[in-house]
Structures are given as structure tokens and as C-alpha cells.
Amino acid sequence: MAGLLSSVRKRLNLEPGAKSADGDPVVAELRAALSEDRVRYDGAERALLSRDASVFDGGVSGPVCFPITTAEVQAIMKIALAHERNIVPRGAGTGLAGGAIPLGAPIVVVVTKMNKIIEVDEDNRIAWVEPGVVNLDLTRYLHRSGFHFAPDPSSQQVCTIGGNVANNSGGPHCLAYGVTNAHVQALEVVLPSGEIAMLGGLDAEPAGLDLRGAFVGSEGTLGITTKIAVTITPDAPAVKTLLLSFETVRDAANTVSQIIAAGMVPAALEVMDQRITVAVENYVNAGYPRDAGAVLLAEVDGLAESIEIDAERIAQIGNDNNAIEVRTAADETERAALWKGRKTAFGAVAQIAPDYYLHDTVVPRSQLADVLEKIYAIADKYDLLVMNVFHAGDGNLHPLLVFDGRDEGILDRVHAAGSEIVRVSLDAGGVLSGEHGIGVEKQAYMDEMFTSDDLDHQNRLRQAFDPGCRTNPGKVIPIGHSCADIQALRKVPTGVWA
């Protein structure tokens, strides 16, 4: 929450003073390397980019750059290196863990103008894209040729593929198709040293260490990707979407576990509880039942011959778990409406309260029902409203705490409830994050999951790429385990701090 980031900044002695009216000395160099209009230093731009889509209050941005070529990104990196300045890469800023919040007055490198689909190579089943290409734009572009980009986070209409790489993004259809890492074959990256490296490759088994795999999901701490070779996935010839409604979330969760146990990996298995379902219906009228305790959206895709069999088995398992209704989307319009409802769920809560805090943890599938019951109890304990909409197939929970930030003391209660949600997930054998990442949100919990030695090894990987820890400093690894980060954050850029 707001208080969390403030406390991090206080620990690091990072509370900003008044900004210098003289501006920042690297601005002129950056403008010479890019152009006058693509290096911004006005208060509005810097304020806008001082935060991301998370609930955390903003950091302090230095100059904001909008490069359009790899060479420009390289020039930015070299200027940053020469001036010992920090760098924060940024896509569309849709992250929910504070990963793009600028700490230490960094140069913010926004890649949204690097938005070309460079080449679609059907022979190799890849597309080369720039990092600022919007996720859904690629899928729309590929539609004519019968392919799509499989990772489909809820923000896919606006989030960038560079951001997907940074966060190893998931989405409902990653249950069968895998998360972003499984769909990235090669990356051109500009390292913090200013060098350009090609990580991975299009060949079957690229030689050497899997630096590509290490880079994906590193939350912008290892460098900036400038070109990405992503796998393009053939569209399935047949799709069937089932809507199963239940009296209880437990019945829905048990159905999910039993579908997996039966040897099926559907394209998607998404659950919404009654509260969020009603909100969705009020918002887009997607066709979900308002009176069910929970709904399960199950999608199977593949050959027409096999999805018929799987759809019948899923329906049977649902019925065995007391389904009130099992309905198959009659046509593409109904299917699209159901998915629209699911993917706009977070927008739908605005009618209930102005603020929400969306959590993201993963638990073993068999623990889903028990953990959800504990989450409802935690919300009751703190007198908060919680809604649950989640990727049930892979145990990825998204408890949504809905509140009005103007209520006295509510942020403390939201924060306390969030901490307990994280801890019940860990206690159930789960992990801190399934797709949002650690950012600044969950740094403080990292040593509840990993030992000091484990974190030291994660830091070793970081240091190999970025020995000065200047790229997105203060993220992922807890401050105490990442001394160089503290140095990078404490360094006061001339002209920025009073």
C-alpha cells in the first residue's frame, strides 16, 4: 500500500526534498542522443510516470525518454552509466506490484514508441516484435494467418510484450499454453553496460546458458529488451466454452481439481465468486447467473473430435460436484460475451467502491477451497469486502480487496489483510506471486519463502547482468540482501535532490 512504499523510502533515506529548478544535467545529453521532444522533463510527464497501475504511491522520476531504436536505448544506457544514474524500463505501466515505480530518481525509459511488428516468420513459427507492441495488437495482426500470441493477461488490450517479458506474464489461457517464458525464443537486450546482446535463439537448443530464460520475468532489473522473438501459436480449429454454476466456491474449486486429476488440461479454467459475478453482470451483462455462489468458466480447444469428449467429461465432473447448471456457449457471440465479462472483472468493481487492491498468490490446486475460505475469514476479520476471481486451473488466486481509500484507517486494514492473505497462501504450500511479480509489493515477504542463501543466489544472477544494480533498483530482492541496490538508491543525482 501507500504506506509500504513510504516505509521503504524512509528506510533508505529516500524521501525527496524539493526538486531543483535547474533540471537534470543528463537531459541535454539525452536530448542530443534522441530528440528534444522524446526526452521529457516536465512536471506533468514525470508525475504521470511516477507510478504504475498498482496501489502504491509514486516514486520520483528523472528524465523520461521515449526511444525508437535499439541504438537510442544503447545511448541512454551509456549516458546513464557515465553519470552513474539509475534506469527504469517501462512499458504501458499496467503492472500491479509497483515494478515500474521509479526509485532513486532514475532515467525512465518508456518503450511504447518501439511498437513495430518487425517480421512474422511462419516457417519458424515466430514473430519478431519490438517491446512496445501491445499484446492484443499482435494477436489481431496474426489473426488473418491463423495464429495468435498465447499469453493473454487481463490487461492485454493495453499491456506491452516488453512488459510481458519483464513480468513473465500469464493469463487465463496459460493453463494449457504456458506463460510468457514458454513463448519467448530470443531477445535482443541492451545490458546496463550499454552492450547489446542476443539471448536465446531460433534454433532448437541454443548453445550455452539459458540467459533468455533468466531475463524473462526479471522485472526490468537486468536490462532493456529491444527486440523479441515470440512463438506464434496456431489457432485451434474448434473451441468449446462451458459455464458451470455452483452454490459454493468449494464445489467450483473441487471441480477444477478433479478435472486436472482426470488427466485433462483445458485451455482455461477460471472461477468467479458471486460478488464479482454480480458486479460483472451489472457492468457488461455478459450472461453470468447472478444467483450462483460461484461460476466456473471452462474452455477446451483443439480438434472438434477431442473437445467434444473433454467437454462432456468436464460437465460430468461439474455435475458430480453439485453444479446448479452446466451451459455451453452456443456461439462465438456468447463465448465472447463470457470472456469479456471475465476480462473486465477488475473494471467492474468501480461501481462498488473507488479503490481496490488486487492480490496475486498461487496455491496447490487441492488447497484452493480451504485457502479461499481463509481469505473470506480474513476479510471479515478486517471488516473488508473481498471478491475472488482467479485462474483456478493453476491455483493462481486473485483476491480483490475493494474499499474507499477516503475511509479513515482503511489502508492499514487493507494492508494487514493483504499480509495475512500472502501468509495463508505460503502456509498452504504456495508462492508469493503467479504473474504480477514482486516489484516493491512483496519484497518484504521474500525471506518468508526463501532462505538468505537462496536470495544471495538470486542476487548473484542480478549482479552478473548489472554489477552496479542501477537498472530498476530497489525491486524484487529485499533491500537487506542487495547492498549495491542501496548504494544505487542513495546516490543523489546532482540537480534532482535539494
Partner: protein, 309 residues
């Protein structure tokens, strides 16, 4: 406060003690790919990784296995519950398969090996058991150490335990053979073949799904070419090549002697070794820095370098 992933398994802790913190040391699996990465230093102390399946939860589609366990033993246990992993079966150990990082011949259907490891435990240069990744099927908690460990030939840490993703074994697996089909057209005729192998004349296609779907796919292939069912894939020549899928069309590069290409993947098994491909120099230097971070004294599997064939 005890971290959730703190290692308590005495078998792993004893193995870490055996590794110790001085002197060159490496794990010897079943030597199925022993020559990869160059000759190891002769004075390296060779250890066997711990063995045994620790925890298998079919409903979670995960298995915790110690790395000295053979892939065959693991797969036999998983098959009892109708599951398998993406690890290749060729007489080696789980740890060996992960350290080498080579895909199974069925990669199109079972996924890349580098995606199989959800969590790894390895003994570090200073004799500590380190955990990377996590136990769930989806996880972005921190840096992705399993990815950097897969294919690292034990030069960054000595793998002792892994949690692997398992997959259901489809109801029907069928190998087809054809002398008249265009191997590069197969993936536009059938949806998700598990393997397409080609020796320049003959094409082998592995189909996996419900029997009725496999029948339908076979019929679609039979509509454009003569196909017939066979027992399994052909024998594979000794040398493994790594190419982009589109590069397989240039068959002259495979030289004299038999070869089998994995169409849609880019792996080639040939009688001759692949010419050394020069990797990106900056990436190579970066890999060296990773090595120096994880093994500053150069004691882990000295003499070997990932990527050297």
C-alpha cells in the same frame, strides 16, 4: 522465522556435506551425454546425486524427485497414474537430463525441457543447498534460477532435487510413416503432432489424443499421402545438431551419412557433428560473468563449458 523453502531433507544435507566447499567436484550421472561441454578436468572428484522420488501428487501434476533417479524409473512411477514429463528417456538420470537441457524427441507434444523444472535444489560452490523457483505450477517469485540451471552442465551448482511439471499421457499414441508426404506440410494438416521426423525420404509422425481424434488426424493425412502405422520412431544417429526449423530444408549441410531431422523443432541427429556455431560474444561474456558469480573459485565441474559440443 524459518523460510518455507528451507531444506530439511537429511539426504540433501548429507549430499551437501559430501560436496563440501573445497576442491573440484562434479556429479556423474549415467554418462549418456558425458562428453558434452568439453573434457572435464581429470582430478575432479565425481559424486552421485541422491536418488528417489520424494513426493508425487498426480492431482497437482507435480513430482518432487532427487536428481540421481533415472528418468525411466521416474516415468514408470508416473505412468501408473497416467502421467509423464518432458524429460528424454535415453538411460540417463533426472539431474543429467536437466543439466544437459536437451529436449525429448517428442518435444512438439511434451514441451521444451527447459519448461519442465518448477523448482530446483542444488549444492552451491560453498556447499549450501540452494532452492530456486517454487513448488507450484505457476510462479514468478523472484529470479528464475531453474531456467539458468537447466542446461548449465553442473557448472553453476550441483543439482540434487527438482520439482517437475508432469503431463497427462494421452489416451492414444500412434506413429505413422509416409514416403510421399511433404514433412513441412504436416503441421498445417494436423493440429498438434507430438513429433515429425524426416530423413530426406521418409517421414514419421507421432499423433497423440483421444483415439477418435487420432483416427481423424490420420484420415486427414491419408487424404493427401500414403501413410501407414509403425511401431515407433527410427533409430537416431549419434550427433545432435541445433538449427532453426526453417533451416532444415537445406539438407546438404548434414553431410554424408544418415540423418534424421525433427521438423518444426530444428533438432537434427546426424552421422557427422555440427560445425561449431559462434555464439553472440556479448552473451558469451555475460555467461562467463554468471559463472564467476555462482562459482568464483571454479570448482564446479571444471573443464566443461555449456554450449561446447
Amino acid at each position: 522465522m524459518t523460510a518455507k523453502l528451507q531444506v530439511t531433507d537429511k539426504v540433501l544435507l548429507d549430499f551437501a556435506s559430501e560436496v563440501g566447499h573445497t576442491g573440484p567436484v562434479a556429479i556423474e550421472g549415467n554418462r549418456t551425454r558425458w562428453d558434452l561441454g568439453g573434457p572435464g578436468d581429470a582430478d575432479t572428484r565425481l559424486l552421485k546425486a541422491p536418488t528417489g522420488i520424494v513426493d508425487y501428487v498426480p492431482d497437482e501434476m507435480t513430482v518432487t524427485v532427487r536428481c540421481g533417479t533415472t528418468v525411466e524409473e521416474l516415468h514408470a512411477a508416473l505412468a501408473e497414474k497416467g502421467q509423464r514429463t518432458g524429460l528424454p528417456e535415453r538411460g540417463g538420470t533426472v539431474g543429467g537430463a536437466l543439466a544437459v537441457g536437451e529436449n525429448s524427441v517428442h518435444m512438439l507434444g511434451r514441451g521444451r525441457l527447459r519448461e519442465a523444472a518448477l523448482q530446483v535444489r542444488y549444492v552451491s560452490d560453498d556447499g549450501q543447498v540452494i532452492t530456486g523457483g517454487g513448488p507450484t505450477v505457476k510462479n514468478v517469485t523472484g529470479f528464475d534460477l531453474p531456467r539458468i540451471m537447466v542446461g548449465s552442465l553442473g557448472t553453476l551448482g550441483l543439482l540434487c532435487e527438482a520439482i517437475l511439471r508432469t503431463n497427462p499421457i494421452p489416451a492414444c499414441t500412434r506413429w505413422l510413416q509416409s514416403e510421399s508426404i511433404d514433412p513441412f506440410a504436416v503441421s498445417s494438416i494436423v493440429l498438434r503432432p507430438s513429433a515429425i521426423l524426416w530423413d530426406g525420404t521418409t517421414t514419421w509422425i507421432e499423433l497423440e489424443d483421444h483415439p477418435v481424434a487420432v483416427d481423424a488426424e490420420q484420415a486427414r493425412l491419408a487424404a493427401v499421402a500414403d501413410v501407414h502405422e509403425v511401431a515407433g520412431p527410427p533409430d537416431l544417429p549419434a550427433h545432435r545438431w541445433s538449427l532453426a526449423p526453417a533451416a532444415l530444408r537445406d539438407t546438404a549441410q548434414f553431410g554424408d551419412g544418415p540423418w534424421i531431422a525433427s521438423v518444426g523443432v530444428g533438432t537434427v541427429w546426424a552421422a557427422q557433428a555440427q560445425q561449431v556455431v559462434t555464439p553472440d560474444r556479448t552473451a558469451q561474456a555475460l555467461a562467463q560473468r554468471v559463472k564467476e558469480q555462482f562459482d568464483p573459485h571454479g570448482r564446479l565441474n571444471p573443464g566443461r563449458t555449456p554450449g561446447v559440443r
